[in-house]
C-alpha cells in the first residue's frame, strides 16, 4: 500500500526528480510512523489509513510545483549572474595577457575592432543590467501555495529577463570572438593559448545559460500544464 502511494507521489513529482527523491524519502518515514501509531495487526489497513491521512499525492505535488519553480528561477538567476562574472573575468584576463606579451592589433583592423568593441561593451552592460533586474525580480517574491495565472506571469517575466541577459551576453561574447580572431588570426602559438582558452570558457558559459533557461522553461510548462489553477 505504502509503496503504491509513494510511486504515485513520485510520478506526480516527476517534473523535479531531485525534489521527488527528497519528498518520497520524507513521506516514506512519515507513513511508517503513522502506520505504526495505529498499533493494529492488519499492516495493510494501517498503511491504508496512514496514506489517507497523508493526503492526495497530486494535490501535494501541486503545492510542491510552485516551490520547485521558484527555486528553479533563483538557480537560473544565479547561474546567469555567475556567467556574467566569469565572462567579465575572462575579458580582463585576456586584456592583461595581451599587455603582458605586448600583443598589439594590426593597424588595418583597428577601425573594425573599435566598432566591435563599442558594441561589445554596450551588450555586456545591457547583460549586467538585465541580469541584476532578473535577480531582483525572482528574489522579490516567495513561492505561492499553488501555481496560478499571476505567478505564471511573474515566471514569464523572469524568463524574458533571463533570455534578454543571455542574448546580450552572447552578443558580447560574439564580439570577443571577433576581436580575438582579428588579433590572433591564424597565428596559433603558445601565446594564443590564453585568448583561445578564455574565449572557450565564455562560449561554455553562454551554452550553460541557454541550457538552464531552456530546461527551466520546459519544466515550468510541464508543471503549469499539470497543476495551474
Amino acid at each position: 500500500m505504502t509503496a503504491a502511494y509513494l510511486k504515485e507521489l513520485a510520478d506526480a513529482l516527476a517534473f523535479d526528480p531531485a525534489l521527488a527523491s527528497r519528498v518520497v524519502t520524507e513521506a516514506r518515514e512519515h507513513l511508517a510512523d503513522a502506520a505504526a501509531e495505529y498499533g493494529i495487526e492488519d499492516r495493510e489497513e494501517a498503511e491504508r489509513r496512514a496514506a489517507a491521512r497523508f493526503g492526495d499525492p497530486r494535490e501535494l505535488a501541486a503545492q510542491f510545483a510552485a516551490i520547485s519553480l521558484a527555486s528553479q528561477a533563483r538557480r537560473v538567476g544565479f547561474g546567469i549572474a555567475f556567467a556574467i562574472v566569469v565572462v567579465m573575468a575572462m575579458m580582463k584576463a585576456r586584456v592583461a595577457w595581451y599587455t603582458l606579451v605586448q600583443w598589439t592589433m594590426a593597424k588595418d583592423t583597428q577601425v573594425a575592432a573599435g566598432i566591435v568593441l563599442t558594441v561589445n561593451r554596450y551588450a555586456f552592460w545591457i547583460a549586467v543590467v538585465l541580469g541584476i533586474g532578473a535577480l531582483l525580480h525572482v528574489g522579490r517574491r516567495s513561492a505561492p501555495a499553488r501555481i496560478h495565472a499571476e505567478y505564471r506571469t511573474h515566471l514569464r517575466r523572469a524568463a524574458l529577463l533571463f533570455s534578454g541577459a543571455t542574448t546580450a551576453l552572447a552578443v558580447s561574447v560574439t564580439g570577443d570572438l571577433i576581436l580575438t580572431t582579428l588579433r590572433v588570426g591564424m597565428d596559433i602559438s603558445r601565446d594564443s593559448v590564453i585568448p583561445i582558452a578564455s574565449l572557450s570558457i565564455e562560449i561554455g558559459c553562454i551554452a550553460i545559460a541557454i541550457f538552464m533557461i531552456a530546461s527551466a522553461s520546459h519544466r515550468t510548462a510541464q508543471a503549469a500544464r499539470s497543476f495551474e489553477v
Binding site: 525534489l19 527528497r22 519528498v23 524519502t25 520524507e26 513521506a27 518515514e29 512519515h30 511508517a32 510512523d33 503513522a34 491521512r53 497523508f54 493526503g55 492526495d56 499525492p57 494535490e59 501535494l60 503545492q63 510542491f64 516551490i67 521558484a70 527555486s71 516567495s142 513561492a143 501555495a145
Partner: protein, 113 residues
C-alpha cells in the same frame, strides 16, 4: 477546524510547532496535535510543502539525520529569521484575534433583549 481555514495560517502553525526545538515532519504534526488538543484536521502531507517553502524563504534550515535503526529523516530547525518571523506573525495574530474578539463580543452585547 476546517482544512481550508487552516491553510492560510499553516506557515505560522509550522513555525510555532518548531519553536520548541528541531523536529522532523512527523514530529511537527505530533507537536501541532499535542499543542492544539487535536483541533486541526489537515492532510498530514500538507506540512511538507510548508516546510520546504519556509526553508526556501530562509526561515528554516534542515539536514538529514540517520537514526540508530538506519532510518533517514529530514530534521528542520528554526533559523534566526524564522524566530523573528514567528514573533512578528504572533504579534499580528494577537492583534487580529483581539479585534475579532472585540467585534464578536460587541455584537453579542449589542443585541436587543
Amino acid at each position: 477546524m476546517e482544512g481550508e481555514m487552516l491553510k492560510g495560517h499553516l506557515d505560522m502553525i509550522v513555525l510555532a510547532a518548531l519553536s520548541s526545538g528541531p523536529a522532523h515532519g512527523y514530529a511537527v504534526i505530533e507537536e501541532i496535535r499535542r499543542r492544539t488538543g487535536k483541533a486541526f484536521d489537515l492532510p498530514e502531507g500538507t506540512i511538507y510543502p510548508a516546510l520546504h517553502r519556509l526553508q526556501q524563504a530562509g526561515l528554516l534550515s534542515s539536514r538529514w539525520v540517520t537514526s540508530e535503526s538506519g532510518r533517514r529523516r529530514r530534521v528542520y530547525t528554526l533559523t534566526r529569521s524564522g524566530t523573528r518571523a514567528l514573533a512578528d506573525r504572533r504579534a499580528v495574530w494577537r492583534q487580529f484575534s483581539d479585534a475579532i474578539h472585540a467585534l464578536l463580543d460587541g455584537e453579542r452585547s449589542g443585541k436587543p433583549a
